[in-house]
C-alpha cells in the first residue's frame, strides 16, 4: 500500500466504538481471565495433592522452573508485540550457555574469565539477535524464517563450541548453587527472572523503545509515517530478545551444572504458548510482559501439577495443548464480531 491507512477495527470504522476496541485497552494485569485460570489450576492441584502441592519446597520448585521461560518470555513478548515472531530462542540459549560455561571455570579447564563469562554469554545472544534483526530489516526476510535460520545457526555454534571433548561441567558449590540459593524466601533464579520482567515492564511502559514497539505492532506503515524509525527499533528489540535468550541459556546451564547445546530444548513451545495464553496478540500491538508472566505461571503450574498428580508424562503435551485452546477461545469469546479479523 502506498499510503498509510489506519486499520481500525472494522466494527468501529465510523461512529460508535466497537466493543473489541474498548476491551483491548484493559491494561496488563487487569486481565482477570488469565488470573482466574491460574487460580483455578492452583486450587485444583492443591485439592488433588493437599500434602505436596502448596508446600514451600514445591512453590520454590515452580518458581525456579518458571525462571528460564520467564526470561525468554520477556524478549519474546517484545518481539511479538511488534507483530514479529522469534523462533530462535532454543538455538540462542544453546549458544549463550555454551559460550558462558566455556568462559567460566569448568571441568574442561578451557578458561576462567570469572564474571566476564556472564557478559560473554549474554553478548553472544544479543549479537545473534541483532544479526537476525538486521537480516530481517535489510533483506526484508520474514522474521519467521530468519529466526528459524538463527535457531539452527545458534545450535550450530553451540555444537561447534561443544566439539567432541567431554561434557564441560561446573565445579560443585559456587556458581552452580546460586540459582537455587534462597533469598528472602525465593530462589535467586526467580529473583533474576523477576528483575528481567520488571525491566521489560518498564521498557514497554515508560520508554520510547517500548511504546514504539506497540506502535509498530499496530501498523508498521503508520508508525513509519509518524516518524518511528521502524528498522532501528526492530533491530534493538531482536537484540534485546537475543540477550534474554543468552541470559536464559546461562541460567539453564547453571541449574544443570553442565554445558549442553540443547540446554534450551522445548522452551520455544512453552514461551510462545505462554505469551499467547497471557493474551498478547500474535498480530502485534496488544498485550504486555506482565500478561506473559501469567502465561508462564499457568503453564509451569500445570506441568508441575500434572507430575505431582501422577499424570503420565506422555499425555502432558496433550493436556497443555487442550488448555491452550480453551484459554484462547475463552479469551476471544467476548470479542466475537462478524467483522473481527484474526489471522
Amino acid at each position: 500500500m502506498a499510503n498509510p491507512v489506519t486499520q481500525q477495527p472494522p466494527g468501529s470504522s465510523l461512529g460508535t466504538p466497537s466493543p473489541a476496541a474498548t476491551r483491548h485497552r484493559r491494561f496488563e494485569l487487569r486481565s482477570l481471565g488469565e488470573v482466574g485460570a491460574l487460580v483455578v489450576l492452583i486450587v485444583v492441584f492443591a485439592a488433588l495433592n493437599p500434602s505436596t502441592f502448596l508446600t514451600i519446597d514445591n512453590v520454590r520448585t515452580i518458581l525456579d522452573q518458571s525462571a528460564t521461560p520467564l526470561i525468554v518470555g520477556v524478549g519474546a513478548t517484545l518481539v511479538i508485540l511488534m507483530g514479529s515472531i522469534d523462533l530462535s530462542v532454543e538455538g540462542l540459549m544453546g549458544a549463550g550457555g555454551m559460550a558462558f560455561i566455556l568462559a567460566t571455570e569448568n571441568s574442561r579447564g578451557s578458561t576462567d574469565l570469572g564474571a566476564a563469562a556472564f557478559v560473554i554469554g549474554i553478548l553472544v545472544g544479543a549479537l545473534l539477535g541483532m544479526l537476525a534483526g538486521l537480516i530481517h530489516t535489510r533483506l526484508k526476510v520474514p522474521t519467521f524464517i530468519v529466526t528459524i535460520g538463527f535457531w539452527f545457526i545458534g545450535l550450530g555454534i553451540a555444537t561447534v563450541l561443544f566439539g567432541t571433548d567431554s561434557i564441560p561441567l561446573l565445579p560443585d558449590g559456587g556458581l552452580k548453587t546460586w540459582p537455587n540459593t534462597v533469598f528472602l524466601g525465593l530462589p535467586f533464579s526467580f529473583w533474576l527472572a523477576g528483575l528481567i520482567v520488571a525491566l521489560g515492564w518498564v521498557i514497554t511502559r515508560y520508554t520510547k523503545l517500548g511504546r514504539f514497539t506497540y506502535a509498530i505492532g499496530n501498523n508498521e506503515e503508520v508508525a513509519r509515517s509518524n516518524g518511528v524509525s521502524v528498522s532501528r527499533i526492530k533491530v534493538f528489540v531482536f537484540a534485546f530478545a537475543g540477550a534474554c535468550s543468552g541470559l536464559a541459556g546461562i541460567l539453564a546451564t547453571l541449574r544443570l551444572g553442565a554445558g549442553s547445546p540443547t540446554v534450551g530444548g522445548g522452551i520455544l513451545f512453552v514461551t510462545v504458548a505462554a505469551v499467547v495464553i497471557g493474551g498478547t496478540s500474535l498480530s502485534g500491538g496488544k498485550g504486555g510482559v506482565l500478561r506473559t508472566m501469567l502465561g508462564v505461571m499457568i503453564l509451569t503450574v500445570l506441568n508441575n501439577g500434572l507430575i505431582l498428580s501422577g499424570v503420565s508424562s506422555s499425555i502432558q503435551s496433550g493436556v497443555s495443548g487442550a488448555i491452550l485452546i480453551v484459554a484462547i477461545i475463552v479469551a476471544a469469546w467476548p470479542l466475537r464480531s462478524r467483522l473481527r479479523i484474526t489471522k
Binding site: N49, T52, T55, D57, N58, T61, D64, Q65, S107, A158, T159, F162, T164, S166, I167, L169, D172, K176, T177, P179, N180, A252, R255, L256, G257, A258, S260, P261, T262, V263, G265, G266, N303, N304, I307, L308, G310, S313, S314
Partner: protein, 349 residues
C-alpha cells in the same frame, strides 16, 4: 534363509569409506561413538565419514543415501534414530552394494540372514541386563528397603523400554523397595533435572534412590538432588558410566552406587569393524552363526569398588581399537565379548 544372496567379491579398502551414523553429535554417548569410528579409521587407514541424524529419521536416511550416492563403497555402522528406520537404510545400502551393521534398534522381525550379506549384523547391549544390574545395585545399597523413582528415555525407545523392564524385574526380588514413579526425561539432562526436581517435591524426603535409563539423565538428576540439598541422602544408579559420573563416583562414599559400563566408541568400532571385515571379504556373513549376526554384547556391572578399572579404556581409545583390530575378531574383545543372541526378550510379567 537366503544367505549367500549378497555379492561377495572383496572391496579394495582404498575404494571403501567407513560411515558412522549417530543420533546427534552432542550427547556424550554419541560423541564417544564418533571418537571410536575415527580411531578405527585411523587404525585401518580408511576414510571415515560421520552422519549426524540430528535426532531425525528423515535427516538420517537422506544423509546416508547421499553418502551412498558419492560412489565409493560404504561400510556403515548406524545407531538408528528409530527402529523403523532400519529396513529403509538396510535396503538402500544393499542397493548400493555396501555393508551395514545396525546398532541399538531394528524391528525384531528384520533379521540379517533374511536380507543377505549386505546386512552384516545387528548389535546391541542388552537393555534388560542393564536395568537388572543397576536395579540390583540400587536395591542392595538401600539394604533392600526404601522408595525409589525412575527416569526413562524417549517414550517409544526400545532401549529405554527394555532397561526399565530390567529395572522393574530386578526390584521384584526386593519386596520392601517401593517404586514410587517412573517418568520420561527423553534422554535429556535438562529434563532429567526438572522431572527429578518435581518428583522430589512430590515425594518430600521420601525418595531414597533414583534410577535412570542413561547417564545423560542422571547428570540432571544428581544436580536436582544437590539443589534440593538431598544429594547425600539419595543413592543413584544409571547406565553408561560417562566420565562425569566417574568423577562423581570418585568422591569419598559417593551416592552413585551402581553403573553399567559400555562405550560408544566400543559399540561403533565393533560395528564398523564388522562391516569392514564383510566388505573386504575377510568374513562371509552367510557362513556366520546367527548369534554373530543378531548379537547381544556383554555390558559390565560396575560398582563403587571396581569402577576405576574401566576408566583406563577412556584414556586409550586408540589402544583399545588396535587391540580390536589386531585380535581380528569383533565378537571377542574385552571387556565386551559376545554374550548372547537377539532379539532381546522382555522378562515375563
Amino acid at each position: 534363509a537366503g544367505g549367500g544372496s549378497g555379492s561377495q567379491e572383496a572391496i579394495d579398502p582404498n575404494n571403501l569409506v567407513l560411515v558412522a551414523s549417530v543420533i546427534n553429535t552432542t550427547n556424550p554417548y554419541m560423541a564417544s561413538m564418533i571418537e571410536g569410528a575415527q580411531a578405527l579409521g585411523k587404525k585401518l587407514g580408511v576414510e571415515v565419514q560421520i552422519v549426524d541424524s540430528a535426532g531425525s529419521s528423515q535427516t538420517e536416511i537422506s544423509k546416508i543415501q547421499a553418502i551412498l550416492a558419492q560412489g565409493k563403497k560404504v561400510a556403515l555402522m548406524v545407531n538408528t534414530v528409530a527402529s523403523s528406520d532400519a529396513p529403509t537404510i538396510v535396503d538402500a545400502v544393499k542397493q548400493a552394494g555396501g555393508y551395514v551393521v545396525v546398532w541399538w534398534n531394528k524391528p525384531d522381525n528384520l533379521e540379517p540372514w533374511d536380507v543377505g550379506n549386505n546386512f552384516v549384523a545387528f548389535q546391541k547391549y542388552s537393555g534388560v541386563e542393564s536395568g537388572e544390574c543397576t536395579g540390583k545395585a540400587l536395591a542392595e545399597s538401600l539394604g533392600g528397603k526404601g522408595n525409589v523413582i525412575g527416569l526413562a528415555g524417549v517414550e517409544d525407545s526400545t532401549t529405554s523400554q527394555t532397561r526399565v523392564a530390567g529395572f522393574k524385574e530386578a526390584l521384584k526380588a526386593y519386596p520392601d523397595i517401593k517404586l514410587l514413579d517412573v517418568q520420561s526425561a527423553n534422554w535429556d539432562p535438562q529434563q532429567g533435572l526438572s522431572v527429578t526436581q518435581s518428583l522430589l517435591t512430590k515425594y518430600p524426603d521420601q525418595v531414597d534412590g533414583i534410577w535412570a535409563a542413561d547417564d545423560a539423565m542422571i547428570i540432571g538428576a544428581t544436580n536436582a538432588a544437590k539443589n534440593a540439598g538431598q544429594y547425600n541422602d539419595i543413592k543413584f544408579v544409571s547406565d553408561g558410566l560417562y566420565p562425569p559420573v566417574v568423577d562423581m563416583m570418585k568422591e569419598p562414599n559417593s551416592p552413585v552406587v551402581g553403573e553399567t559400563f559400555h562405550r560408544g566408541f566400543m559399540a561403533s568400532s565393533i560395528g564398523l569393524y564388522t562391516a569392514y571385515l564383510a566388505a573386504t571379504g575377510k568374513i562371509d556373513p552367510s557362513t556366520l552363526p546367527q548369534e554373530k549376526r543378531d548379537s547381544l554384547f556383554k555390558l559390565q556391572c560396575v560398582g563403587p569398588n571396581d569402577f576405576e578399572q574401566y576408566t583406563k579404556w577412556d584414556n586409550d581409545v586408540d589402544g583399545w581399537v588396535s587391540q580390536l583390530v589386531d585380535g581380528g575378531d569383533p565378537w571377542n574383545v574385552q571387556p565386551t565379548p559376545l554374550v548372547g543372541q537377539g532379539p532381546e526378550q522382555l522378562p515375563a510379567g
